[in-house]
Subunit: 309 residues, 2 copies
């Protein structure tokens, strides 16, 4: 049943965000608990539970809790392996602890799967049967909806689009994986690439050459910034092309900060995909920006929790 | 019900092969109809139907027909789009024609899916939930079993591992897809690569520098041939690594002529995968040779037909 009130808890690198969710609506503001105030898992879990209790005084009908975390989780046991940017969180039975302390049924998944679920249930992926979701930010994450279900893989590690190779002899990825997409179009790598492009042209490197800055520059007609976006699109297209040949999805949903570049990214990306895919794979394919921004994680884990009831 | 007698029909480039199948057993020799003897679809279909009728005189309990074809098919309508190496076969309603003329329920799929189904039901992929099957031959094909079902994608075009890119700036594939795996490790490309490797060393190019020939040479200690196999493994590893990061399967089954090289291919391939995958993706993963050779297609389409009853 998906029309119940649940609490969504989204673990970020700097804060844990909580909100009450019904369907695709947030019924409250987003409460934030800064992770840096806590050492290790248990004190932070206690603070979360305090917040949950407070929320339930106003919302007595909360039926479940959904949790999204950055990093690997075992979906079947609800144990987190590690949280990106958060220390002291390996092998924490987070789902069962929250469930035990709150007394509410709890679902735990990684944030990329939550984002994919939110976009598929309520957002840009709605109505499609096979959806590939990509988030472009500090890293590159992904989540898959296949045959109308979240596809998690054999050890719940599927969807790692950022680790796919676009060059068998390319830049080393974090796991020795040459050509890992993330090492080409992560935020930092985009900024470094752009800086080098300006330098090679003998031009001063703009102070803000982050993806955001590059989008503004490109819209103002800066040729180097426009070329940078074409390269980003080219890199992304290579891995999406491979993903599409493998999975033949009907939609690719792209979110995260880098996707805010809009047509600067999407126009060359779609052109490249059209150029390199068979008609069977391309003609029915939608390549669309994500609908939800920062709330995708909360909405997705909440929707998973509501569906599990 | 899978313990019924069915006729499996496997369309190859040079002949159509038919056999009576029960479970994973062939109850007859393989009958062959040479495709070159027929111009266009209808005369060949008539010859197939004649053969089917003859078979049913000996096997009156045939319950269904399974057909595997090389090339794109629409699984839902049973229409072939094109058959690799066979002319005059675009947009043929092959499934319905065979069904109408034989009076038997008929299932049609592409041969890579049939191979994957056979390996998963009876062969090297048995007992696994998520299986990636690859065939290495003239081209590179693939079939996917995901969550215990054949995964065909939104327009039945999934599994095209041979078209995935291992280099965003690499050799052009047949659809403008730079770095298409098939253009690195198809039979002809392997032979060309090996010839170049011998020439670069100032060595005579062995008469048989096909994958088969290279396997014999490598086993005899030929260093260039051994290096060629390491390169082949390196190329294949790049696309499998991407596939595994995306799908997190529990088995990769590799068949086709090139896979007959055995440990020459599998040892460096597994080493490379171990080197480039996370522990979560690698520790439970089986990378194994296919069990069935030429009969995989017949067994697979037969099993699909039997299961559909």
């Amino acid at each position: 049943m998906s029309n119940q009130q649940v609490i969504g808890i989204d673990f970020g690198g700097t804060s844990v965000k909580l909100a009450v969710v019904e369907g695709s609506e947030l019924l409250t503001d987003v409460f934030r608990i800064p992770t840096q105030d806590f050492v290790g898992a248990n004190p932070l879990i206690a603070a979360i539970i305090d917040q949950v209790k407070e929320i339930r005084e106003t919302f007595p009908n909360i039926a479940a809790i959904g949790i999204g975390v950055p990093g690997a989780v075992d979906f079947s046991t609800g144990i987190t392996y590690n949280l990106t940017n958060v220390k002291g969180w390996s092998s924490v039975p987070l789902r069962d602890e929250i469930q035990r302390l709150s007394g509410l049924p709890t679902v735990l998944d990684n944030d990329a799967n939550c984002m994919a679920f939110a976009e598929w249930k309520f957002g840009a992926g709605q109505g499609y049967r096979n959806v590939v979701c990509v988030t472009l930010g500090t890293g590159v994450g992904g989540g898959l909806i296949l045959s109308g279900e979240v596809f998690r893989g054999s050890t719940y590690a599927a969807g790692e689009i950022g680790q796919m190779s676009i060059d068998y002899n390319g830049v080393e990825g974090p796991y020795g994986n040459s050509g890992a997409l993330e090492r080409y179009i992560g935020n930092r790598q985009i900024a470094e690439m752009a800086a080098k492009m300006y330098e090679e042209k003998g031009l001063p490197v703009p102070e803000d050459h982050s993806p955001e800055g590059l989008a503004i520059l490109a819209r103002d007609g800066d040729e180097v910034a426009r070329e940078a976006w074409r390269r980003i699109a080219h890199y992304l297209a290579a891995s999406l092309m491979s993903t599409i040949y493998l999975l033949n999805p009907d939609a690719v949903v792209i979110g995260g900060g880098v996707a805010h570049a809009g047509e600067l990214l999407f126009d060359p990306l779609k052109a490249k995909l059209k150029e390199t895919l068979t008609l069977e794979c391309f003609h029915h394919l939608s390549v669309v920006p994500a609908r939800f921004g920062n709330t995708a994680g909360i909405l997705g884990c909440s929707a998973m929790a509501a569906e599990s009831l």
